[in-house]
């Protein structure tokens, strides 16, 4: 052991230091390069976030304003050639009155309401402006006639009167006003006829057309015939039903199984298997859950197609592993001292878990729940397989009605042929969805900090 072969004297040490120094420049260059790569990666990642959000914002924000028509509509008796609305007479039965009302309404619906729309548009146009009826009707949204008809049905005394109404301009008119359409294009490529385009310009100048906040996005259901009035209300209710189902089912079941596995389960092959199984479930592609839903819930249990109930159940199964894993993590984090203290007081194991351990983990469980729900809210693929991509033009009243969901609505809109209009509307829908996600996450963070401070 006394055999020392390398020189360790002063001279050798100076020589070694010289060699170390010789390499330093190169090594520091490598260091700087490596650090530079790291910085570049971060900038790239942040850049992606920035580009994605700016892109969606730039595309989506304009869709929140929309061209509105301020017109004076005359309920001209010449066009609205229909008897007076039935009034209930003494001794008339309920059923008879209903039949009479419906009959009258059917007569009203058979009238040509487009003529009323056309007349009010012409009234706003300058005298002598030449445009045929087909062309002038492209300025207002196709549902304008339904809007006027509904007004009349609700208030038959409007007959013969002239009142101010606000109607939505058509999607093409909206695009023209927003400047999304190249004005230099020839007539053949334009979606609006030349007189219609000229009329829109005049309307814009004389104030008949103005931009307003697009409430329709929030209050209306989806519509194909009248794109400018298409909204998210139906999809929103569908998503809401599903989220409620997820919360009602996934949270109790998830927390309960986490408690069982973490606190009560004997360490055995079976619990090992359950554990591996849950970890794997968390990584199973979402579309596979859609297949499960289609085969089991729809085909075997015969749940209605496109119903939020089926969607909610599929999303529940998908969210369960997230909640179980997070809750187990939280339970593992509770200090053994607390458990021993509870047991030492004579509490049973169940009492220890439910009275002492669970309350401490509440903030973590809550956060996990919200994150799981947010994930479920944004999920699309499994819903496509259980028919939630059906076109639904009504707001679902129960979880068994046909419905769609926010992300699925985005999927449907992005595929709409009227690209020019729907690209913006899709971006707006994305902003609404992202808004909900941010809201949920903000609530999670807020509650978490609140609860943790109190604990």
């Amino acid at each position: 052991m006394t055999n020392i072969s390398t020189p360790t004297g002063r001279q050798a040490s100076i020589e070694r230091t010289r060699r170390v120094r010789d390499g330093l420049r190169r090594r520091h260059l490598h260091e700087a390069l490596f650090k530079g790569f790291g910085l570049a990666a971060i900038i790239a990642a942040l850049g992606f976030v920035a580009i994605l959000f700016t892109d969606v914002l730039i595309k989506g924000i304009p869709a929140f304003t929309q061209a509105n028509l301020h017109l004076e509509a005359t309920f001209d008796p010449a066009i609205i050639d229909v008897g007076p609305a039935p009034v209930r007479t003494a001794g008339q039965s309920d059923a008879d009155f209903r039949a009479a009302s419906l009959g009258w309404q059917r007569d009203v619906a058979l009238l040509n309401w487009n003529k009323v729309v056309e007349a009010s548009l012409r009234a706003a146009a300058p005298a002598g402006f030449e445009i045929d009826s087909r062309q002038i009707l492209t300025v207002a949204e196709t549902n304008a006639r339904h809007v006027l008809r509904e007004m009349f049905v609700n208030d038959p005394s409007l007959l013969g009167q002239t009142i101010k109404v606000d109607l939505l301009a058509s999607a093409n008119a909206d695009n023209w006003v927003k400047g999304n359409i190249d004005r230099e294009l020839g007539d053949a490529q334009q979606q609006l006829s030349a007189p219609a385009r000229a009329l829109i310009d005049i309307f814009e100048e004389n104030g008949t057309i103005s931009m307003g906040f697009a409430w329709s996005i929030f209050t209306n259901v989806d519509s194909r015939a009248a794109p400018a009035s298409a909204g998210l209300a139906g999809a929103f209710m569908g998503s809401l039903f599903m989220m409620v189902i997820v919360i009602l089912l996934a949270v109790p079941i998830g927390v309960a199984s986490a408690i069982y596995l973490e606190e009560f389960a004997p360490k055995s092959r079976l619990t090992d298997l359950i554990e591996v199984n849950i970890n794997n479930l968390a990584a199973v592609p979402s579309i596979v859950f859609g297949l499960l839903g289609a085969a089991v819930f729809i085909n075997y249990f015969k749940l209605p197609l496109s119903a939020p109930l089926a969607g909610g159940l599929v999303l529940t199964l998908m969210t369960l592993p997230t909640i179980i894993i997070a809750t187990r993590g939280a339970l593992q984090g509770v200090s053994p001292a607390l458990r021993q203290a509870a047991l030492g007081m004579g509490a049973s194991k169940t009492q220890m878990v439910f009275h002492h351990v669970l309350p401490v983990t509440f903030p973590s469980i809550l956060t996990a729940t919200i994150i799981g729900v947010a994930q479920a809210l944004g999920e699309t693929a499994p819903l496509l397989l259980i028919g939630m991509n059906a076109f639904v033009a009504s707001i679902p009243a129960t979880p068994l009605d046909q419905a769609t969901a926010l992300p699925v609505q985005i999927y449907l809109w992005q595929a709409n042929e009227n690209r020019n209009f729907f690209e913006a509307r899709t971006s707006a829908a994305i902003l609404v969805l992202l808004g909900f996600m941010i809201l949920l996450n903000a609530i999670a963070i807020l509650l978490r900090t609140r609860l943790e401070r109190r604990a």
Partner: protein, 278 residues
Amino acid sequence: MDMLAGKVKMTQQSVNNGMNPTDMLERPIRLHAKDVTVHYGAKQALFGISIDIPDRAVTSFIGPSGCGKSTFLRCINRMNDTIEGAKVRGLIELDGEDIYDPALDVVELRARIGMVFQKPNPFPKSIYENVAYGPKIHGLARSKSDLDEIVVSSLRKAGLFEEVKDRLNEPGTGLSGGQQQRLCIARAIAVGPEVILMDEPCSALDPIATAIIEELIDELRENFTIVIVTHSMQQAARVSQKTAFFHLGKLIEEGVTEDIFTNPVNKQTQDYIMGRIG
């Protein structure tokens, strides 16, 4: 008093490491520290430490846990740089050169001042690669045979070669705790440092492995300046020529090991040696 007498007797026996006190004091100063203070964020960990470390001798830092001895050791090769929020003030010189001089390269400094840690921490590589790593990154070997020679001689000096010569390509993590620590010492030696810092190198080892390492330290003293932090007074007495006692971030007393153990000046030092301070 009986207890003290017993202790002193014990230490007198063990403070016998082949160098008489006067000889030690005549050794040139290798490291010189003056007024070193360390803050971790708002908390002050060291208060004005000044000490000289003699060349080619073993200096030990003793004191109760949390007293700042390891913190000071980590100042000597600037390992505290890697801890966020650590601030070191004061002067530490290696051969008259300020090691906190901004112009000085910390990489070069650490090549000159090696370190061995509390828990053996071999890299998850082969035994050979562990030892060869330092010379490789510093470009100390001109050729493969050069490198082989450095590895073999370093393992020899660490007293490990005979035990591992047939399995140089097996992972270093497969060795026993004591062997791992000697591998780490070999790894430090391979760079050819002038000073080796050892932070409680035996605290994770059994008594037999500890004895082997202590013997090794005694041999290495011929060629290296060694600073060792230990929580074991017996170990300090057995291996070191100079001892410094730290308490609550302050250097309480320093001097020739024999003097510190047999004739401490400071009351706190005496209390510690007698086992009154944890």
